[in-house]
């Protein structure tokens, strides 16, 4: 077994510097690498390009990096519900590349899987396709979208082992598995680092080969963005 275990978040983020391109898992605030983000805030690395579906909210998730003006460019699919993100974007302080969510996922997977580019119908005929190659297959039009290139991918899983194997929980899975192995170095943080052999090999979502470093996060706030409940009768 090849061990991917590192002692803590400091060690996990070794080598992260200004001007890097980072991938960060999560959908809204669900399944975000909370500990890695907190450390990025501490390191105060600047001029980052962040590939992440959202940018958190004003005071949590990637919103924390936006507040500190650490991010030069966001590549995301959705801004909504983050006022600071929208403000920086509209004012031009922040460069933003908005792309379809499925394209975002698949450009990650392409990087993970050694595909240089993919053809997707999403965005054809819209400003997303501007300047991009388009092509017809069987009477339908597609846009050529390229694999991402990133320095670090930060993902958050539910359980993991020393070999780097990961299991995600519920919809906190989202982009996390697709980003594993899609950057030069993939850093996985887990709620629970279990002993080797404790995970059923049949139920592993991401094999350790896609992960370079793994650590157990100190604490998970797991903030809920839209609490919706019904009353018991």
């Amino acid at each position: 077994m090849i061990s991917k275990k590192v002692a803590n978040v400091q060690e996990a983020l070794k080598g992260v510097t200004n001007n890097m391109t980072l991938m960060l898992g999560g959908f809204g605030l669900s399944g975000i690498p909370e500990n890695a983000i907190a450390q990025l805030v501490k390191l105060n690395v600047k001029n980052l390009t962040c590939i992440s579906n959202n940018a958190g909210v004003d005071d949590f998730g990637l919103g924390l990096l936006l507040q500190q003006k650490q991010i030069k460019k966001m590549i995301s699919s959705y801004v909504g519900e983050n006022d600071e993100f929208e403000r920086q974007m509209l004012s031009g302080e922040l460069e933003v590349e908005l792309i379809p969510q499925g394209t975002l996922a698949e450009r990650c997977r392409a990087a993970q899987s050694g595909f240089p580019a993919i053809y997707t119908p999403a965005g054809y005929g819209t400003e997303v396709a501007k300047g991009k190659e388009t092509r017809e297959f069987d009477g339908k039009m597609y846009v050529l979208e390229h694999a991402f290139k990133a320095d670090f991918a930060f993902v958050k899983a539910w359980k993991g082992d020393e070999a780097g194997n990961l299991i995600f929980k519920g919809t906190a899975r989202n982009f996390n598995p697709n980003m594993c192995g899609a950057a030069k170095i993939t850093v996985a943080e887990v709620e629970e680092l279990v002993p080797l052999g404790a995970l059923n090999p049949n139920q592993i979502h991401i094999p350790g080969i896609f992960v370079q470093r793994i650590f157990q996060g100190n604490v998970y706030e797991k903030r809920i963005e839209q609490l919706t409940v019904r009353q018991k009768n």
Binding site: F27, G28, L29, S30, G31, N53, S76, S77, Y78, V79, G80, E81, E86, M89, L90, V96, L98, I99, P100, Q101, G102, T103, L104, A105, E106, C108, R109, T120, P121, A122, G123, Y124, G125, T126, E127, V128, W158, F168, K169, G170, T171, A172, R173, N174, F175, N176, P177, N178, H205, K222, R223, I224, E225, Q226, L227, T228, V229, R230, Q231, K232
Partner: protein, 218 residues
């Protein structure tokens, strides 16, 4: 004239037995509440869940189980969780039968705009561009006019597009409209709304063939 719940109720009638359905944020989310319960329907959310159930009981919410609107949800027996790439495999691969989403503008050729007002507001397209580019069956749920009273059913969209020639049907507070090759075809009027009223509220070409029935919601 319908309220949001009325629109959701009318759209719920379009949901057929055996459909996998993706619901957008806003009015579309409400549709789930009004689907007949004698038919089998499964709701997909693009953040990675199939087989969504109702909101959780107070205190039983789980931050790790949400829908694409970031609302806490529950799942029904037979549900599954999956990653974003697989979620869009379902969508792009045409495995989802019906997509219901909101819009800022719809054009009479089926174009839709719902993600951006240049210089003013940017929500982002989220999964909408993937959905409209692949779905065979797209219903738009929206108000017939915007807050300024201007029609949202246009000859041509003025806002940045989300997708081209993709909308099949529109349900508004005033009417049910089919998007045909010749333009917006009026199918049904909302209770108490006249054809004349709908005509005035529709900037795009409205096709009125014969008697237009008033819609029923139940």
């Amino acid at each position: 004239m319908l309220d949001k719940i009325g629109i959701a109720k009318r759209i719920a009638k379009e949901v057929k037995d055996g459909y996998y359905v993706n619901l957008g944020i806003g009015i579309p989310t409400l549709v789930a509440n009004y689907v007949r319960n004698d038919i089998a329907v499964e709701f997909q959310s693009e953040n990675g869940v199939l087989g969504m159930g109702p909101f959780p009981f107070e205190g039983e919410q789980d931050a790790d189980i949400i829908n694409a609107g970031k609302q806490t949800i529950t799942t029904l027996p037979g549900a599954s969780f999956f990653d974003s790439a697989m979620s869009f495999s379902m969508i792009r691969g045409k495995h989802v039968d019906l997509t219901i989403l909101g819009a800022m503008e719809v054009a009479q050729n089926g174009d839709i705009a719902n993600w951006k007002i240049p210089g003013k507001m940017v929500k982002g397209m989220g999964g909408a561009m993937d959905l409209v580019a692949s779905a065979e069956n797209i219903i738009v749920a929206m108000m017939h006019t915007n807050k300024a009273g201007e029609s949202k059913l246009l000859k041509k969209c003025t806002l940045p597009l989300t997708g081209v020639g993709c909308v099949k049907k529109i349900v508004t507070n005033l009417a049910v409209i089919e998007v045909t090759e010749k333009g917006f075809k009026l199918l049904e009027r909302a209770p108490g709304v006249s054809v004349e009223f709908i005509k005035k509220a529709t900037q795009g070409h409205l096709i009125i063939n014969g008697n237009i029935p008033e819609m029923t919601l139940e």
